[in-house]
């Protein structure tokens, strides 16, 4: 139902009127005075108030005069809700006197060491002391002293002398992150922020406390003494370290990326970032960075010129194309999720029309198939977080998409959203879920079917106990079934719960849900940054740009006015490409920022690069796979190139280019264009704008989507494609950049103006309509498998493997960022004590794991959160000397992987 929105973005029935300094302004019922004055452009100084957290009224800096039954009195503007007819004065003598007192008091114990403080120059305490307050102190006594600084964690340092006890950090930790590891200790002037002895502030969200600390008390190790605010340049961008797509500013000094700060994007990250996204910029300068093209000569990779590298690459690819009748069986391309949308489009054109192969896949066996991502009816994060009921069938979201986890946690805690979680291992979301059903890995489909069945599970014969379903007790199924039945429509968050279960098993569960509840809408959560954008550009077998099938797009793209040619039939997926390469039947393999040797969940992935295929690696880092390539082409990284990116909602936002790529690294689209030339063809692109122009012309999904649109202030929260052509009202109140909420961002051009409402062409937060997919005849549709895959019956001696994704793993970004790499856990096989006791083993022992991938050494650990009969090993983690990582155990061609643990001798 459309809500009528007035000038200030407040739904009219909730409006009250208050008077601020003699002027009448509209305010929303229930909001605090400070947010109404902010909207009206009247500044009230503050420290403890943060627009994304509950107010506490701790610092008293925001005192204003407010009318009440006993006349005007001083009240904290951040802690008093507006009331109709309320009169507020923010600039009287009385208010100024209060501000003077509060500031003088706050500075009593403050060391005033601004010249050596990282916050100096962007410090709300410094700024507000200059703008308000007496400017002089009467305090001549000795100030309190503490050791400076102490480590709260490897990432966050605390200088207690500078702390003004605003409780932003402690409130963030407990209220927003749900990790109450820091708290105030003691009282009076010995109050300090601290952690429990022996503990560390190990939260995935710890960096946010540094971002919101209004003084220099909290600093982040990677930024400490790295730059002064006035030396920083910045550009707004989108984080692509996972597929959530949080908005950030990238700040640099001397052409080096030096800091990321979260930008408040209402529909996505609401100003927060996870620590991986915030701190992985160190990978820009990692020793593994490739900055010069290389070719293999005499078994070694040697540096060469771009001309030579491109010639060698074209020769190798050309040779492969010559010998085969169908390019799709000769040349395979893996990767593309690292690319910007425009890069991906250029590569799709090179691959599908110039080379002519359809064997290209941006998914590395860890997401959902393209038809699910593109073809399922879509739900946005906002829709998920405002739905009364959400079904979550994903891996641990805190590991996979940390900020989505925060959003969902907040929705569940507010009581607005009931979360029903189906999982095989305990997750961080479990604490906030209404129901958590723990099923046997791989068997989600039968559980979903039972949850939506017409009747409760029945005993096999009268008088017998009702058997569990997929390992879940029948009573739990019945209770959840009843709960689900009470909701007419459902929203689901779906993803690959474990890399040790095949895509088919996951798809079967989604299919079961979509069969039972066809109106369900989905947020498909995948791991890799711009996977959705790569799929939108056609970087998957069987599809073409714009979410259409090969057939659906043939007439447009095969025409002279299009690409001139498209592949004849559907090509191979990543798994098939790797198998074909391992068997020696693939002529050439192009790795587009992909590292299948370590980052593909199958024990045989390593063999692919030794099957004789000619390998071209387009990469920013010399990863395991690139080390074995014949040609290595250095690519630009994040923040070294612009364009747009697409998150898992399908939301398209901009990428900011802040620094130049190091050495001779090129942007990916330029590599595609030059490679096409070397292959004797011409992509027709000399700039990003060329690519965007062709895309708007050929692809209905991208119609109207020009740089002019994506660079407009009204699209700063991104757009969902296709663009709505009718004017749509903006949802939510427009926000101005708040320099006290996020010190350090300064000003951003797109936040200086308030987007017009309603916006002329599209909404920043609108939806694509009920189906989400483009209503064209050739649109990609979710194809349901005929039946779920057959699973082996559980046997008493095997453990079913779950390989969940971990936030800090051995990916190039984490390994290349020293501060994060130190936090990556070591990969152990975690099992229930019951299963380990049987073997007479205990935590830390080395056992033999007999798996489809052979018999290998692993280190085991007791974890009673793990169900009996299940073994959990994080994917792509470093492991103890002599043992193997999860990949070596997984058989991706089977629906599930069962392993057996044996005493090692």
């Amino acid at each position: 139902m459309p809500v009528s929105v007035n000038e200030s973005g407040i739904p009219s029935e909730d409006t009250v009127t208050i008077t601020v300094n003699g002027k009448q302004i509209a305010a929303a019922k229930g909001e605090m005075i400070i947010s109404a004055t902010d909207r009206a452009g009247v500044n009230v100084p503050r420290f403890c108030y943060h627009p994304r957290m509950k107010p506490v009224g701790m610092c008293r800096m925001c005192l204003v005069e407010v009318s009440g039954p006993r006349g005007m009195s001083l009240q904290p503007a951040c802690y008093l809700p507006v009331a109709d007819g309320m009169e507020v004065v923010t600039d009287s003598e009385k208010v100024r006197k209060a501000q003077d007192g509060v500031l003088e008091f706050l500075l009593v114990n403050h060391p005033l060491d601004c010249p050596v403080c990282d916050k100096g120059g962007e410090c709300p305490l410094q700024d507000q002391t200059l703008a308000y307050g007496p400017g002089e102190s009467r305090f001549v006594e000795e100030k309190r002293h503490w050791a400076k600084p102490i480590e709260l964690s490897d990432l966050v340092l605390l200088d207690r002398e500078r702390c003004i006890q605003c409780a932003r950090c402690t409130r963030f930790a407990s209220e927003i992150a749900g990790d109450p590891l820091i708290d105030f200790f003691s009282r009076g002037d010995s109050t300090e922020v601290a952690i429990a002895p022996g503990e560390k502030f190990t939260s995935y969200f710890s960096g946010n406390t540094v971002q919101i600390c209004p003084v220099g008390a909290l600093t982040a190790t990677p930024y400490r003494f790295a730059a002064r605010p006035w030396d920083l340049e910045q550009v707004e961008s989108t984080c692509t370290s996972c597929a959530t797509g949080c908005r950030v500013v990238v700040q640099s000094s001397s052409n080096q990326v030096i800091r990321y700060l979260g930008v408040d994007s209402d529909p996505v990250n609401q100003s927060w970032l996870c620590d991986k996204g915030r701190f992985d910029f160190e990978a820009h300068r990692a020793g593994s960075r490739v900055t010069v093209p290389m070719v293999r000569e005499g078994g070694e990779l040697v540096e060469c010129t771009w001309a030579e590298a491109l010639r060698k690459a074209a020769e190798g690819i050309g040779r492969a194309m010559e010998v085969a009748s169908d390019p799709s069986s000769a040349v395979g391309v893996i990767g593309g999720a690292r690319l910007a949308n425009e890069d991906a489009y250029a590569w799709a054109k090179l691959v599908k029309s110039v080379i002519g192969t359809d064997s290209v896949d941006a998914d590395l066996g860890d997401g959902l198939p393209a038809d699910a991502v593109l073809g399922l009816p879509k739900a946005t994060i906002d829709e998920v977080c405002s739905a009364p009921l959400v079904l979550v069938m994903t891996p641990d979201l805190r590991e996979l998409a940390p900020i989505l986890f925060l959003r969902l946690k907040a929705a569940a805690q507010s009581g607005r959203t009931k979360v029903i979680e189906l999982t095989s291992v305990g997750t961080a979301l479990g604490r906030y879920a209404t129901e958590t059903l723990v099923y046997r890995p791989g068997e989600a489909a039968s559980l979903v079917a039972a949850l939506f069945a017409d009747s409760d599970p029945k005993p096999l014969a009268a008088g017998m106990e009702i058997p569990p379903i997929a390992g879940v007790a029948a009573s739990d199924v019945a209770r959840t079934r009843a709960l689900l039945a009470g909701f007419s429509s459902a929203v689901a968050v779906v993803g690959r719960p474990s890399l040790a279960e095949s895509t088919e098993a996951t798809v079967a569960a989604v299919a079961a849900l979509s069969a039972a509840r066809p109106e369900t809408r989905y947020l498909t959560v995948h791991r890799r940054g711009n996977l959705h954008g790569a799929l939108d550009a056609g970087l998957a077998p069987g599809i073409l740009p714009g979410r259409v099938t090969l057939e659906g797009g043939r007439s447009t793209f095969a025409a002279e006015s299009g690409w001139g040619r498209v592949p004849a039939s559907t090509g191979m997926s990543t798994h098939e490409i790797l198998r074909s390469a391992a068997q020696g039947s693939l002529g050439a393999l192009i790795l587009l920022g992909a590292d299948p040797v370590v980052d593909f969940p199958d024990h045989e992935s390593e063999k692919a690069l030794s099957g004789g295929a000619f390998v071209v690696a387009v990469t920013a880092h010399l990863c395991e796979s690139a080390r074995r390539a014949d040609v290595v082409l250095p690519a630009a990284m994040y923040a070294e190139r612009g364009g747009t990116t697409t998150n898992f909602e399908g939301r398209v936002t901009t990428l900011g280019k802040k620094v130049t790529p190091p050495g001779q690294a090129w942007e990916d689209w330029a590599i595609a264009a030059e490679l096409a030339t070397a292959l004797g063809s011409d992509l027709g692109f000399t700039s990003f704008d060329d690519i965007a122009a062709e895309r708007t012309r050929l692809v209905p999904l991208f119609r109207h989507f020009t740089p002019h649109i994506w660079n407009a202030p009204s699209t700063r929260d991104g757009v969902l494609l296709p663009l709505a052509t009718a004017p749509v009202g903006l949802t939510g109140a427009p926000r101005a950049l708040d320099p006290v909420a996020t010190p350090g961002i300064g000003s951003l051009p797109h936040h200086a103006v308030r987007p017009p409402s309603p916006s002329p062409l599209f909404a920043g937060t609108g939806t694509t309509g009920p189906s989400g997919a483009v209503a064209s005849p050739g649109a990609v549709r979710f194809s349901r498998p005929a039946s779920p895959p057959d699973l082996p019956a559980p046997d008493a001696y095997s453990l079913r493997l779950v390989a969940p994704y971990r936030l800090y793993d051995c990916g190039t970004h984490v390994v290349g960022s020293a501060h994060l790499a130190a936090l990556a856990p070591v990969g152990t096989v975690r099992v229930n004590h019951y299963d380990l006791d049987r073997l007479g083993a205990s935590t830390g022992d080395t056992l033999r794991a007999v798996s489809p991938g052979g018999s290998h050494q692993v280190v085991v650990e007791v974890d009673d959160e793990v169900q009996r009969g299940t073994a959990v090993m994080g994917f792509n983690l470093a492991v103890a000397e002599g043992s193997v990582s999860a990949r070596s155990l997984i058989d991706l061609s089977a629906p599930v992987t069962d392993i057996r643990l044996e005493a090692h001798r």
Binding site: P180, L181, F185, S186, R187, A194, A196
Partner: protein, 208 residues
């Protein structure tokens, strides 16, 4: 470093069960843990955190607010000398200096044998008998230098064991019964008063 003994752990569980919200048992559990060891050991803090469902930092944060909950070891006898106005006039500072000499430690320190800790205290509400001294929170008013020496001798010799509780014991009475009011009743009462209030409000608005 010791956590709660099995008996105390069982007692702690019973205490938690007395409250509608486990969190409410935080301070009672701190008392129990301190009565056992004389101070809150990090292990005990972690156990309490788990029992009441908060983090160790939150338990420590709460405990550190209160002077009578100790986060570091204290001697078997914690001697507090009040130095507020009434006692000060009665010679509290002189007594404190004497106590330092007698015990061979500075205020805030513990004797090497772990028997005595000396602290300066705020008004103990024993102003009618200055100088007021507390030993493990039990009062000994009207102290001067010689009575203080006798007191210390008696404590050291164990002559006061019946009067002065075991170190760390703040409260000698343990809660064993649940709160008098039943939760449902409280909630029902609250709902009724909310309803009445909104009716009054509605009536007022209807009148204009």
């Amino acid at each position: 470093m010791a956590g709660l003994t099995p008996e105390n752990l069982a007692r702690a569980r019973e205490t938690v069960a007395l409250y509608p919200q486990p969190r409410s048992a935080l301070i009672p559990l701190c008392h129990q843990a301190q009565a056992q060891e004389g101070w809150l050991t990090p292990d005990a803090i972690s156990q309490i955190a788990e029992l009441v469902g908060v983090s160790a930092a939150e338990v420590r944060g709460t405990a550190s607010f209160y002077d009578m909950l100790h986060l570091e070891p204290v001697g078997k006898f914690l001697i507090g000398v009040c130095t507020n106005i009434s006692c000060m006039l009665g010679g509290a500072y002189e007594l404190l200096a004497h106590a330092e000499d007698r015990l061979g430690i500075r205020c805030g320190q513990t004797t090497a044998d772990g028997t005595f800790t000396l602290e300066e205290m705020e008004c103990l509400a024993g102003c009618d008998g200055p100088t007021c001294v507390a030993v493990n929170y039990r009062y000994f008013p009207n102290q001067d230098e010689s009575t203080f020496d006798t007191l210390v001798d008696d404590l050291a010799a164990g002559r006061l064991d019946g009067d002065v509780p075991c170190h760390g014991t703040v409260s000698r009475v343990d809660r064993t019964v649940t709160l008098m009011a039943q939760r449902d009743e409280v909630l029902a009462e609250r709902a009724a008063s909310d309803r009445a209030r909104s009716e009054r409000q509605a009536a007022k608005e209807a009148k204009g």
